[in-house]
């Protein structure tokens, strides 16, 4: 027993310290997520107003979504991608008399979008790159995937 006391004092203390972890009382987590890829930067740099739809598709590839304009016969191409990260800390107690838990989490999501507006003749009117706007996201509601960000 003396040997146990002498030699395992460290591990015993170690196990005592780790016992909350072993019982699931404490959890740390980190999560990252990437959805889709940004269109090629050289393609975006080559965009100019007045370009034809086919030329834009050649430069950027297939868009994420296609929408029609509400007022004009033109259309909107949306290229969207997202990078999200988050971490969390969870502590819970197992005492039936005084159960409790503490959760702390932080997440950061960067849904980005490149939006192209075309007129009725399929000519590029304008384009905009930035966060996926809530207005646009609301039109895309139900189409799964990216969440709106703030401009």
């Amino acid at each position: 027993m003396a040997w146990v006391e002498r030699r395992c004092g460290g591990p015993a203390a170690l196990l005592l310290c780790f016992s909350p972890f072993l019982s699931g009382c404490l959890q740390l987590s980190y999560r990252s997520m990437d959805r889709f890829k940004a269109p090629p930067a050289e393609g975006v740099a080559a965009l100019t107003a007045g370009m034809e739809l086919g030329a834009c598709l050649e430069l950027l590839g297939a868009p994420w979504r296609v929408l029609e304009l509400e007022t004009d016969p033109g259309l909107i191409l949306v290229y969207a991608w997202e990078r999200a990260t988050g971490w969390g800390l969870s502590v819970s107690g197992s005492d039936d008399r005084a159960p409790g838990s503490f959760n702390l989490a932080q997440s950061r999501s960067l849904p980005r979008a490149l939006t192209l507006w075309f007129d009725g003749q399929d000519r590029l009117e304008r384009f905009e790159q930035g966060f996926l706007s809530p207005a646009l996201a609301s039109r895309l509601a139900g189409l799964e995937g990216l969440r709106p960000g703030s401009r």
């Binding site: 591990p11 170690l14 780790f18 990252s32 997520m33 990437d34 598709l57 950027l60 016969p73």
Partner: protein, 150 residues
């Protein structure tokens, strides 16, 4: 042979006179405590690799056969049913998509590290008012998705 078996019973050492037995050394002490903790951690760790695919892969040779002027029916015959049809004024656009997600997880003691990466092969076919193929946009990224903890 043990010496005590060679002696006469009278000469057997008494309990009090027996030479002290050296303390037996346990194999674990050499592992304590850092290595023991490491082994404990390794024993409690696990990893996860999973892959999720939505829809069927889009055959590239079929996409290469798309030519302007084809009817929507011909396009569908080549690529299969679209996942989305968008009515654009009097025109239409069809979306064909194959999505792949790879998830990597590492559970190390109390730490849970999870990474998820999603990419897609996507084809948009634009049709004119008379239902003829006018434009095609293609993106092939599904094969680029990788496992990792990035």
């Amino acid at each position: 042979m043990c010496p005590r078996h060679t002696l006469a019973p009278a000469a057997l050492p008494t309990r009090s006179t027996r030479p002290p037995v050296p303390p037996m050394r346990h194999p674990l002490p050499a592992l304590c405590p850092p290595l023991l903790a490491l082994l404990l951690c390794l024993g409690l760790s696990s990893c996860l690799l999973s892959q999720n695919r939505i829809n069927q892969p889009i055959p590239r040779d079929a996409v290469a056969k798309l030519t302007p002027g084809m009817s929507a029916a011909e396009v569908v015959a080549l690529l299969g049913a679209p996942v989305q049809v968008v009515e654009l004024d009097q025109r239409a656009a069809y979306r064909f998509e194959f999505e792949r997600t790879k998830q990597t997880g590492l559970f190390l003691f109390v730490f849970n590290w999870n990474n998820e990466e999603t990419s897609a092969d996507r084809i948009w076919c634009f049709f004119s008012k008379d239902d003829r193929l006018t434009h095609v946009g293609t993106t092939y990224e599904a094969d680029e998705v990788e496992y990792g903890l990035g």
